[in-house]
Amino acid sequence: MRIDGKGRIDRTRPLTFAFDGVSYPAYKGDTLASALMANDVRVVGRSFKYHRPRGILTAGSEEPGALVEIMGPANQTPNTRATVQEVFEGLTARSQNRWPSLRWDLLGINDLASPFLSAGFYYKTFMWPRAFWEKIYEPLIRRAAGLGSLSGRHDEGTYEKAYAFCDLLIVGAGPTGLIAALAAGRSGADVILAEDAAEMGGRLLSDEGQIDGAPAQEWLASVLAELALMPNVRLMPRTAVTGAYDDGTYGALERVGLHRRPRPNLPRECFWRITARRTILATGALERPIAFADNDRPGIMMASAMASYLNRYGVSPGRKVTFFANNDSARATARSFVAAGLSVAAIIDSRPDAPDEGDIPVHKGAVVIGTKGRHGLQEITLRTGSGEVRLETDALGMAGGWNPSLHLTCHMNGRPRWSAELAAFVPSPGAVPGLVAAGAANGTFSTHGCLAAGLAAAQEVLTDLGHKAAPVDLPQAENAPYTISPLWAVPGKGRAWLDFANDVTTKDVALSAQEGFSSVEHMKRYTTQGMAPDQGKSSNVAALAVLADATGRGIPETGTTTFRPPFVPVSIAAMGAGARAEGFAPQRFMTSDQASRDRGAPMIEAGLWYRPSYFPKPGETTWREACDREVAMVRNSVGISDVSTLGKIDLQGRDAGRFLDFVYTNTFSTLPVGRVRYGVMLREDGHVLDDGTTARLGENHWLMTTTTAAAGLVMRHLDFVHQAFCADWDVRFISVTEHWAQFAVAGPKARDLLTSALGAAPGLPFMGVRAATIQGVAGRVFRISFSGEEGYEVAVPARYGEALFRDLTARAETMGGGLYGMEALNVLRIEKGFITHAEIHGRTTAFDIGMEKMVSAKKDCIGKAAASRPGMIGAARAQLVGLKPLTDSPLTAGAHLFTQSADVKRETDQGYVTSVGYSPTLASWLALAFLHDGRARHGETIRLVDHLRKVDVLCTVTDPVFHDPMGEKLRA
């Protein structure tokens, strides 16, 4: 019910929202929870296991029960805490984990079966008959479990990520954080003040305290006003710091657009990576429930949450309220309710020596032992010194004491300490380097204590940071001592809930101990205690205490489970912001990209690059037609292909040749200027890293080519070899991949084309290189070939790439040639037995590809020693061969090889196929493959089996070079 005259909501701004199809009024400033409470909606959700009705337990992000789906135009957001979601005009929410309706949930039947659904029951049953698990039992369990649901459609929301840096990160803007921010801000430090809630102030917003003799909210307003004017202080409301990581890095989730109607381009959430030199943890404390029979009914909630609803939102959960406490902290709340004109039926205080409370009846030394009210609390039963008493009440506030919100201090494996005095865990100092906990987060619960602690923490940090602390007066505020007499669970019959979300009761914890799951981690995992969306924020400590009781150990000996990031759940979309669709990885485009697309070429991904697959001509209906034509074109006239994606590394210096000798298996230092040599590079473990050509451009100037795939890898490798082993050598290298556009010109008419394009014959021997002026542009011409035809590569600076590509294409077309794509390039290289990373896949040695003779005996090189291990050479290894089918059947890469007579099974496996293509040149399918002792088996017939694609073909084993084995065309 709405309470007149109370709360910070804006009553001049009425709003309408809907829950489960019913429209309700609310005000600006309401959360969904406060608005539902204002409208007397008590059941908000259903629990995980027993589908018990769940109301609102808290007023913050720790809420375990009031989880709903927020409906959007395309997607819904499940498991949203009604206690955090702010109401905006048109907000539509839906309850979850119920069928057919929230009020009448069929799976509520689970509650009746609860004796058979005790902790871990599923490990003991559903085993027979075996086939039933996947067909019946598991689907039933899965459907019953889970909470909210995803729409199944792509998340179309906008999200972002960002970096921020500061001297001091203050987590939490309650009294502790605010005064720390004030002190640090006035001292000139660069401060980020992050607050999970929509509004800054923490408990000052909820409790009716005084600071310096005036309402605390006046102090709050003046501090916030001063902070807002400081350019060195960044206020981040609606921002939960979610994780503490190494070296002052924190993750934080900002709710940018969740509290309003969606707007174009406005991020829903922003995931921040904040780097802070120092951090003050001022996250306050969370009040904890008390376990007693049927303590989970809607209407039973945290006493401090009741204060929040009354004082912050102007609503009450009931008309006749009671409190159940083991300490004094609910007393002020009770007085607030009385002052607001509500009836407070009683305070039930478990302490026999509890103080009186004016006109409010106090049952001292009493406990609640039972409750009634199926869809909302109606009555409670007390056990007092004089027997059992029944009390009519529709709202019960539990005040079981406070747990410091120390979660972030555990994120780097810090273990909190047990404080017997506070009956709570407190942070271990230094648990996160650079972070100090202060105020309630550190076990100081009075407002005055928090202000003093916040100020002291700020002053300490400022000194550390080298700032002179500016004066800040410590205001006077409530400073009552915190006296608590621990009460975790009320003994008695019935089920007493610990974990309200996952339906873990004290009996489950006891049963877990009874069955030997008595370590705290075993108990957690066996009962699922603390594994629900609230991660046990309000229940872990009590569960631990119940376990300690059951095992006869103390709480400190029992230990605690570990809090892990994130502090509040973070959407995958926020942490993965920017990666939707093409944002996952950069796109790299060649200078010829547009020209290729203009000709209708499908562009396919080659690592980050896009390369043309083939260039369709009118009338061609399949890629194969285009591919066959392009292959024939290269073999018969001339083809043009953009090869700019290959890595190019420019090396200079007197020791560059020596360096190349060290990284390649073969010798480069003897290469004459103006010549190019093919080289193989090994990893230090003896396997092939990459291959390519390197040209000697000058006495001390070289140009290395890598494969497209390994360009970055090779650069890193060269950097390592250089810096680790020969940093004093006179060699420097830099990638020039991006600077040059480079085009292959291949085919019998390549020389004619070059002559026309250059205005003179290329004048190069096979494997020669020279500088050339190409239509007025300084470039280079190489005579190298990846096709087996006479081939050239022409390089110009990238700005001229597109123009040269179009020029070469036009010239080729006048000669009956034209463009060829990746498909044809692949067939051409297979015909010629040239390898790619399909063959040098990381498990291949130089021996396997028949290049062991390229490992120079005269010098050391990277990988040479390891390549000589017995397992790296010899007939037991699979070696590169060619395969040609006996019939004209297609071959498939990934097929395995068997001898004709053998059974097809792993034990008889002889090898596998790496590359296949249809060769129009040889009018046959061809394959490259690795075959055991393959070089000795040329001429043998082998069976190729691909179960997946239903291919079973006999092939002849051949040399891998099918076309022009003598290389006459290359050298023509």
């Binding site: 598991e138 199944g152 929301g157 995958i572 790296m872 792993r906 997946l948």
Partner: protein, 416 residues
């Protein structure tokens, strides 16, 4: 006490008072025929199969913390047999067969769920590599189906087939792949081993390994010295430290692998799905949480926790592959410590010390191996000979160059 549905009902009727401890809590005896250091999945299964298959009756498992406190308790629960190199192929195939009979064997529901695993590929080259793998699986006697893009769409309609940076070309479906409830596997083996008389000793840290003249004699522990004829080191995540007690230096570097679980959701992902263009794999637990992970954090670590760059990378991969999970919220992240070997394959072998055996180097594939690892380790300890399906998992294979490198990334521990 035998578990069954009937037992659950009868106990439920009588207030669940009759459930007995799942295992005893014995004090260590002065001497055992065999001691297994490490009460994780592999250690417990080793003990179980030593007792069951080889008749050992005097065995102890020594666990520093609580049973199942290592990687068996923090993984993404995937069970599969989709390796392609001989050596791995037969081993994981054997393991999958053991999984398929595990509930009946252990009398414990480990919730092994063969919901199918799909590895997606995004280029012709990846398709060929997966075809090689799938054919290996079938040659081994396991199952594999090559799906084209439309085939994938039938199974996983929620993937982004239209806008994604790396289009989905198809997938390799392994119908028998799936998941299991990780903790239950540890508890099931523990309970079954205990029922066969194995002493499970928790909170007992091994501090030394006693070796005399090249023969193992026992161990020193925080609960006193214990003699043993045979000792097995089965402590993935701490292998280097324990092996060092016997003077050994292993081909292992320890790395942290983070994993993530979301809040509970109604069923939306019915398979195990992995992305071929970024390390990302996901399934949905029976409780409804999306359980997913990616690559290791790449730096040597024993911290059981990671850092944001890898967290973000995993989320980014998820968002590009299946943007429908965007609104699911990550509830918890954690890190396990992985024994990373230079070729990504494990070690099950004798050591140079007589009677001392080692099972380690599971990289981040240890969970699915739990049954076969124990089976083969028990075989090795009992007979002194490698089990045929684990005979390539030798310690000296790096020295000899008989590398088992499924990834093809070479002798760099963190790349496997």
């Amino acid at each position: 006490m035998r578990y069954s549905g009937l037992k659950v009902i009868t106990e439920g009727l009588f207030g669940n008072k009759g459930w007995k401890p799942a295992w005893r809590t014995p004090d260590p005896k002065p001497e055992y025929d065999a001691i297994i250091i490490g009460g994780g999945g592999h250690g417990l299964s080793t003990a179980y199969y030593l007792a069951k298959n080889h008749g050992f009756t005097n065995i102890a498992v020594l666990e520093k913390g609580y049973l199942g406190s290592g990687n068996i308790g923090r993984n993404t629960t995937i069970v599969r047999a989709n390796y392609f190199l001989p050596g791995n192929s037969e081993f994981y195939s054997h393991s999958l067969k053991l999984w398929e009979g595990l509930e009946a064997d252990l009398n414990y529901n480990v919730m092994h769920s063969q919901r199918g695993l799909i590895n997606l590929f995004h280029s012709d080259g990846q398709r060929d590599a997966f075809a090689r793998r799938g054919n290996s699986m079938i040659n081994q006697g396991d199952d594999a189906i090559l799906l084209d893009r439309e085939g994938v769409r039938e199974h996983l309609p929620y993937l982004d087939f239209e806008q994604t940076r790396f289009p989905i070309y198809g997938g390799l479906l392994h119908p028998r792949g799936g998941t299991a409830r990780h903790d239950a596997v540890a508890w099931g083996y523990a309970r079954a081993a205990d029922r066969r008389g194995v002493d499970l000793i928790q909170n007992c840290e091994v501090t030394g390994i006693d070796v005399e003249n090249g023969v193992v004699r026992g161990v020193q522990t925080t609960r006193g010295s214990i003699r043993a004829k045979k000792v097995a080191i089965v402590v993935a995540g701490r292998s280097s430290q324990v092996a060092a007690m016997a003077g050994m230096r292993l081909p292992i570097e320890s790395h942290v692998l983070q994993a993530f679980v979301t809040e509970g959701l109604k069923p939306v992902i019915n398979h195990v799905v992995s992305f071929g263009m970024g390390h990302f794999y996901i399934s949905q637990s029976d409780k409804g949480g999306l359980v997913f992970g990616g690559d290791i954090d790449f730096y040597a670590s024993y911290a059981s926790r990671g850092n944001l760059p890898m967290v973000e990378h995993v989320m980014e991969a998820g968002m590009t592959l299946m943007p429908m999970i965007g609104r699911a919220r990550v509830l918890r992240s954690w890190g396990g410590i992985m024994d990373m070997t230079p070729d990504g394959s494990p070690i099950i072998d004798r050591t140079d010390i007589s009677g001392l055996f080692i099972d380690c180097g599971w990289n981040y594939g240890g969970f699915k191996a739990v049954p076969a690892s124990g089976w083969c380790m028990a075989h090795l300890m009992a007979t002194g000979e490698s089990h045929p399906v684990a005979e390539k998992f030798k310690l000296n294979r790096f020295a000899t160059g008989h590398i088992l490198d499924e990834e093809g990334t070479g002798s760099q521990h963190n790349l496997h």
